[in-house]
């Protein structure tokens, strides 16, 4: 057995992707100063937009998520990443709300990103794709919301990097957001967050198959580097207790230690599996660009260093949610968002959910989290005048 994470096969890009896409014809200036366009936004919708277009919820996906929120993933066949929450009769009720989720700018599931063809050169963008920010992603999403004819989103919701987009939406376009739910997130990336991302990027770039970002042209993929990046990141998504509960020091298909570097422990095997399956569905350069966008995120910096100024005069109703065992985006980060909202006299609710599942808790079955979210949305729906189905 190989000691290294096996290099996965080169997968041909998915051409037959379910869902819709919008081509934004006008070019737009990104935060980095580069003009990009036309661009493509790949998105999915669930439920029906009501007559006065007041029941739309925009779901913002996390770093490695995509628009397949509540249906089998077209590449892996696995259930949608938020099926615990999205569906008929569920908290994000598809019979009541019109749910939209778009693949972020820089992504690899149909929206414009570094694995696309650069029309100017006819070659794959690779590292010549401009560096993007969370604000750039949100500007792109706004084109989609305009295109769908939605004047005001009932709610913008998302966890982790999705939560950053929620905060960006609420501060860039406050009048377009009735309610905002940033979950397990922060108003800026901490030094620790940046450090973990840098580790992942270095793992990718250290893979000889990365070829300086031009792997598409060489017919190879930096699968090992990307898998290691995923393995490191995956540890940060879990808590020490959760890892221990799940694996302890249990051995993998063996009765004794082998005195070698094969995956003796179940936890090693699990991480390798996480790495390999990730590589099947994700592009290494997209990983570089999207982690960079997170690192550059600092909402206060856009507002003279005072986070509260970002929310001045906001009429959006906020529900900030954190999880006790999340050490990647700890409760203290959510608390500073709440503090800023309080200073701005905003309408804010804040709950910290008790769980040992770490950062990943926002993706999992957490009854208290779901009940709280349902209560918040019901309250908002009442204020917005949305009828119960």
């Amino acid at each position: 057995m190989s000691l290294l994470v096996p290099s996965p096969p080169v997968v041909s890009p998915v051409t037959d992707r379910p869902g819709s896409s919008l081509v934004v014809k006008e070019a737009h200036v990104l935060d980095c100063g580069v003009t990009l366009g036309p661009t493509t936004i790949a998105y999915q919708t669930y439920g029906t937009l009501n007559a006065d277009r007041s029941n739309a919820i925009l779901i913002c996906h996390a770093l490695t998520g995509d628009q397949y929120v509540a249906e089998p993933h077209p590449v892996t066949g696995k259930p949608g990443w938020w099926e615990t929450l999205v569906g008929p009769g569920k908290v994000l009720d598809t019979e009541r709300y019109f749910l939209i989720c778009a693949n972020v700018l820089g992504g690899c599931m149909g929206s414009s990103g570094p694995s696309d063809i650069n029309p100017a050169t006819g070659g794959v963008w690779g590292l010549s794709f401009p560096v993007i920010t969370i604000a750039d992603m949100v500007r792109e999403q706004k084109h989609l919301i305009d295109h769908l004819g939605i004047e005001q989103l009932f709610c913008v919701i998302g966890g982790s990097m999705g939560g950053m987009q929620v905060l960006q939406w609420a501060t860039s376009y406050p009048d377009r957001v009735f309610a905002a739910v940033p979950i397990a997130t922060a108003a800026r990336h901490s030094a620790q967050n940046i450090a973990f991302h840098e580790l992942g990027r270095q793992a990718i770039m250290a893979d000889p198959n990365w070829c300086g970002g031009n792997y598409h042209e060489s017919g190879v993929r930096p699968g090992r580097g990307l898998a290691v990046a995923r393995m490191a990141a995956h540890i940060t998504y879990l808590s020490e207790q959760a890892l221990h509960r799940k694996f302890g020091r249990n051995l993998q298909d063996r009765r004794a230690l082998t005195y070698g570097f094969d995956a003796d422990f179940q936890v090693e095997n699990y991480l390798r599996h996480q790495g390999i399956t990730f590589v099947e569905r994700f592009d290494a350069n997209s990983y570089l660009y999207i982690t960079r966008a997170c690192d550059y995120f600092d909402l206060a910096a856009e507002h003279g260093g005072v986070l509260a100024s970002a929310f001045t005069g906001t009429r959006t109703r906020f529900c900030v949610i954190s999880f006790t065992s999340d050490w990647l985006y700890p409760t203290s980060e959510s608390r500073s968002v709440v503090h800023a909202l309080t200073v701005a006299a905003a309408n804010v609710s804040f709950v910290e959910i008790e769980t040992d599942k770490g950062h990943d808790a926002f993706l999992l079955e957490e009854p208290e989290f779901h009940a709280t979210l349902r209560g918040f949305l019901d309250g908002c729906a009442q204020h917005r005048g949305l009828d119960h189905p």
């Binding site: 503090h339 309080t342 804040f350 709950v351 309250g379 009442q382």
Partner: protein
Amino acid sequence: MSPDRRDAALLAPAPGEIRADLRLVASMIDAGARVLDVGCGDGELLYHLVHTKDVDGRGMELSQSGVNACVRHGLSVIQGDADHDLEAYPSGAFDYAVLSQTLPATRNPRRVVANLVRIGRRAIVSFPNFGHWRVRLDLLLRGRMPMSQLLSTPWYETPNIHLCTIRDFLALCDEDGIAIERSITLDGQGRPFTLNPAGGPANLLAAQGLFLLSRPAR
């Protein structure tokens, strides 16, 4: 109706059926006002105000279970405590800031009261009266720390670290230039009775006091 929703409906207090002392607090609040309820518990008062008086209500609560219950019922509540988290609120952000029965549990009651009248145009404060005759008798005759309906935990686990009498409270307001616009004396069940709160009998007979305060003139 889904099971979750049914639960929420069962948990939600029916508007109108609230604790007697909270009903009195509610009676002091104008319809449509902006209200901050500090130490709002499971949201009984806020829920009542939002649904019967159309107030723009916010809450702050220390216990996570209380906060979660509030948000589940559609109330805007954050986790926080009166000692640390009131400073963040801008002055005059609310018409009323309410602190019901939590004053003795704060670390710095003087600063908390000052913050309440700063944040709210008016503050409503209620607290158990440590000068009540039963309290006095407990200590005098039994030689034990007093326990009553309002002071229901033994000394070793009570959250109340700054107990005061009605007279003590009036003296503090006087010292800090806080105006008392209305005061109500209540019995152990939270029923009001008429007595001049500044008088000796009130301090002896009232189990709790409820005060409508306004900020000192600057």
